[in-house]
Symmetry: C2
Subunit: 406 residues, 2 copies
């Protein structure tokens, strides 16, 4: 697997556009991704009972359409809590894209992100779809315009692309995502779009996506809220000419690893851009009795407000970490826990067998002052491990979220 | 039931003291509560797997002692994550109090709150127990000294007392609590102590406590972390001379209501003193299909960081409330939800049947600018309701918790 420069158009046969249509003030707010041929596809959606209109639309498409050709995304308005009008507007969005592209509405997936409860401004969307479909390009620029147009409070665009060889043919996987606030396990206000020119059957792709989100998007936390709009979509158009991939294929494992890499890389970029985040935190839980316990413990640590604020204050407050492990619901023996803080400045062990060690507070502070800090918990209960990613909780988080809607 | 001025010594036969012994800098840090006769008692403890030494001690006492006489509480050190030495120190604390009071160690409950992972400074405790046992008083002052000595980052003491008549005799229930950070459903760094001069059998008291915490302490949230030390203890010494209370007694319902009132009042005081809290938030969920759904929905709203920061910003961001209901895990129909914000400035309905209403933003802001704000969600799914209490998430919360240990 090779990491390449590129995004959603890194895969053959895909073009993209990102335009400004007037939902937001001044910034690009409409993205269109199109494949030159039918794609098998898969989707993973928010577990929130309150689902935005486009989530409902996409779930229907996943259930009923064998293939799709396009994804239409707007930022600035989530089309959530908009009742029947929202469903109507979402369908109109699909129809507009279908018309412009000469395909059917059932071949168009729709995503929205932004303010909740405000009717979708359809006139800008109408103009935006016409504009975007006219400038679609299978280029680096097309991809980056699209990646820009899906952003809300994001401070940078999130793109990842890789290539690998299967059957002697180059295969590509490209992706873009938006994140920022409300990011939490079980999906969050997070949109992630992946294209690949591999050939892969729809059911197989859905299974692969399901297993891939568990250790990527579901292991990140910004603030613990799960949004109404979270969506991950994958399109596979077979343009590489590869033979159909499945677990029986000799290239499957390599493809799977590359696919997971793209999701994990996008998830980590989302955390790096967490609202008000000053630090990128990685929590590694090792020696857990099983994988699910390891995930639960890592997620509980990364999701704790008290742990997050301690990191904001560069405070080696390991007690809060043990505490967060304790209320996670996962079984473990507190008296077998070792805890370490690690960064570019070095490593310090602060707990051994559940008991605090006398450690160099000066070194610990230097380690924690870095922008990237790893917390490593070793349980000695088994050999399962999991990694979670998150960010600190800062004044800036409170400022951004206290003022977001106003 | 009459609300009376008083705290832990409001009940006949109880005396208390609060002294400074040197665990903290300058502030009172050791409290002693003593009954002049044996008490039946009950306890409810943190669900955290990592339990502080005194929690383990108290759980043993609850399981094995028929009666107790005293509670010894220190602040400044949680005696948590202190391994075998912590257990030893806790036992020594019980022995010191027992010796000073002429009772057995198994008649002494112990609680600690403060920093995690630092060995308990036993010399100050030794001196403090001697000091406290010498100044025990069945007075308002004794109670308020004790209420002061159990505080950590609390900015005010938390005391509640009531009286009622049963069998023609006055019965008292008095209590004190400490809270502040790490307050969340399922108990938190929260200590709460209740005395009563009613006569009530131990098993009955435990059942009553179990049902009382569900709609009091378990319905409050400050920051979502559940601590290693959470404890609620109740002592009943029968000094009122009342006949034994039980569900068969005609005075039971009145006693139960008074008992629940004291717990709920203390829980609300804890929230009012949440770390960095600028607002007191009440969330009422009505019309839920069952009580547990109502509780889950109310707790999910009050625990959301995004909801908390919206209230900090006085932003009528009802979308975040619907969103928090949506990911709560409770089943409800989003299209039947009505939402209201209420304060001294008036009431504004923002959602009807899941659809946003055009509302007076100016009035909404005036309502949300108040220090006490009620959010009312009406579900039209049934007739169950629940109330939860919490506070906003402020810059001050981040400051306090970023600097706590350093």
């Amino acid at each position: 697997m090779k990491i390449i420069d590129g995004g959603i158009t890194a895969s053959l046969g895909f073009s993209a556009a990102g335009v400004y249509c007037g939902i937001k003030k001044r910034k690009k707010d409409l993205a269109l991704v199109v494949s030159d041929r039918p794609c098998t596809f898969a989707g993973s959606f928010t577990t929130n009972v309150v689902k935005a209109a486009p989530v409902v639309w996409d779930q229907q498409i996943v259930a009923s359409s064998p293939t799709v050709r396009s994804i239409l995304v707007n930022s600035g308005n989530a089309n959530a809590c908009t009742a029947a009008q929202g469903d109507e507007d979402c369908k109109t969005m699909a129809c507009l894209a279908a018309e412009a592209l000469g395909i059917t509405a059932e071949e168009v997936l729709v995503c929205s992100t932004g303010v909740i409860g405000v009717p979708m401004p359809m006139e800008p969307i109408r103009e935006g779809v016409a504009l975007a479909s006219g400038v679609l390009a299978a280029t680096r620029e097309g991809a980056s315009d699209a990646a820009t147009a899906i952003c809300t409070t994001d401070t940078f665009t999130k793109e990842v692309a890789v290539s690998l060889e299967i059957d002697g043919l180059p295969i590509h996987i490209g992706g873009m995502a938006k994140g920022s606030g409300m990011i939490h396990p079980n999906m969050a206000t997070m949109l992630s779009f992946i294209t690949t020119d591999a050939t892969i059957e729809k059911g197989e792709l859905q299974k692969l996506l399901g297993s891939s989100i568990v250790d990527s998007y579901n292991m990140i936390s910004v603030d613990g809220d799960t949004s109404t709009n979270d969506t991950v979509l994958v399109l596979a158009n077979g343009a590489s000419g590869s033979s159909p991939l499945s677990p029986a294929h000799p290239g499957w494992e390599a493809f799977k690893r590359a696919f997971e890499y793209v999701h994990t890389a996008l998830a980590k970029l989302i955390v790096r851009d967490g609202e008000g985040a000053g630090k990128f935190l990685e929590v590694i839980v090792e020696g857990a009795k099983d994988k699910e316990s390891a995930r639960t413990l890592a997620r509980s640590i990364i999701s704790s407000n008290l742990v997050k604020t301690a990191f904001f204050g560069a405070d080696a407050n390991w007690g809060r970490i043990l505490c967060a492990m304790g209320y996670s619901g996962a079984a473990f023996d507190p008296l077998k826990v070792d805890l370490y803080f690690i960064s570019e400045k070095g490593q310090v062990q602060v707990v051994e067998g559940g008991v605090p060690l006398a450690f160099d507070e000066h070194l610990a502070r230097a380690i924690l002052m870095e922008r990237e800090v790893i917390t490593r918990a070793v349980l000695r209960d088994g050999d399962a491990e999991a990694t979670a990613w998150g960010c600190d909780l800062s004044y800036e988080y409170v400022r951004i979220n206290g003022e977001y809607r106003s």
